[in-house]
Symmetry: C2
Amino acid sequence: MTDAVRDMIARAMAGATDIRAAEAYAPSNIALSKYWGKRDAARNLPLNSSVSISLANWGSHTRVEGSGTGHDEVHHNGTLLDPGDAFARRALAFADLFRGGRHLPLRITTQNSIPTAAGLASSASGFAALTRALAGAFGLDLDDTDLSRIARIGSGSAARSIWHGFVRWNRGEAEDGHDSHGVPLDLRWPGFRIAIVAVDKGPKPFSSRDGMNHTVETSPLFPPWPAQAEADCRVIEDAIAARDMAALGPRVEANALAMHATMMAARPPLCYLTGGSWQVLERLWQARADGLAAFATMDAGPNVKLIFEESSAADVLYLFPDASLIAPFEGR
Amino acid sequence: MTDAVRDMIARAMAGATDIRAAEAYAPSNIALSKYWGKRDAARNLPLNSSVSISLANWGSHTRVEGSGTGHDEVHHNGTLLDPGDAFARRALAFADLFRGGRHLPLRITTQNSIPTAAGLASSASGFAALTRALAGAFGLDLDDTDLSRIARIGSGSAARSIWHGFVRWNRGEAEDGHDSHGVPLDLRWPGFRIAIVAVDKGPKPFSSRDGMNHTVETSPLFPPWPAQAEADCRVIEDAIAARDMAALGPRVEANALAMHATMMAARPPLCYLTGGSWQVLERLWQARADGLAAFATMDAGPNVKLIFEESSAADVLYLFPDASLIAPFEGR
């Protein structure tokens, strides 16, 4: 099997010398047109392209350096993780992409700046920041597009967290995966706003990775999804280019609900949205009938994320007083 | 256009003489494998077969007789309806199938025995009872299969309400619709129980007829539905034959959620289930994780209907104290 990412890392690592300390930050992101389904699990290649907005200063800070103790250490939010911890194992398995078989003990220190209450997954920002920090620690000659390809291996959505702002992750066509990576969209929208409405969650039914696989394998309604998602990407990118919330919002919401529909039709059904999520949606839809131009998107969890323009921010916060507000272009 | 039903009624009506008073009762029904999508709107032919359970003494009583006033009258639950009332117009348009262009003023009196709080649609039982009463009033020589074909024109699911117990509505293959009618399944299951869990409803987003059309026309996930629903019918009929709730229940629930998934993916999305519906489902799923063998199905409204065996009835009513319990084979 040829694998563009593994080959690229091997080439870059051939010139690597010592390990030095390196730090990196990567923002989390929310997909406006969703990634749901892989065409290649080993290379983490998606069935369809996706478009996201990065969450500015909500993300992951990661430091990579040689471990003084002679063995690997992973610290997360100030705690040294047990070597058997799932997060630690996943991070070190990712570092192995760089180390190959070489004995290069590492200390990886990650700090998450996403409020816990927001309940956002940190794998996108986590693997993007880890990729950048590893490349820095080994002094590798890789550009952002290369880093996006590598981050994709850790977590698909991490391919988009290499950049701020709007990012498209191209599906790509090549079997070796070299053309499946993020592309920053040169589209600034200073008034664009995001609100995260946290919903009490029960036990998560499945990780998003497992849920995705279960859906692809068992949902009779999955087959039409990739083509529709690809079409949605184009419409969404055009609406962003036109800063047209009236065109963007309904398509973003329909895309998210269609993704959840593919899961709901899985066998057994998979429902990440809870009664609380639907109550938030009902309140939103009622407000929209009354004129509010805010639209929802939901991922593999019960929280509801809203997109709207700055002029609607006060109304959104009146409706959802506990929501967290993000201005993705502020100060950029 | 040849139309098997209209031709059959015309033949039968050729021998009809006077109008006499005739009464009929038909039960409501709940689809265990859903009807969602027409292949022919004029003939009301479905894209897939469906299987239902009739609701015993929850249904419609209808009387048809000549009107003494010289013009049509429709009484519903004790009230004389305005000629412009939607229900009255629909009932009289249906009676016109029998009258053709002849001046035969009718008095139609219907009484619904379904508790209003249950929020069940009455069109299935209403059109089945009206069909039977009209055939009686005109003294027509039609068997139950003929009546099912005719009732189908009034409301698709009425084709199943001609019988008690389990009924399959065969999709049929013929263009003229003659082979699309209900078939009573010779499968008694005395311990089979149904509970209706009423959920506060907001304004109904769409009639089920409009919702069905909107879904077929706009949902990118609709195309795989008919084949899956057809396959579900077979599995569901086999599970009923085996009185195997462990095989029946999960399939019934998955079929209903897949139907709702087709709507949720429509553009704009169509969500008949509310936050309250999902809370009922979450409570059910929690109880099921604790061992309760009860399963849900939902139609074009927020209520949740549960199926289970008599041995689980006490647990179901403990969980949902306000639910209405139905024993479809009791006294039959």
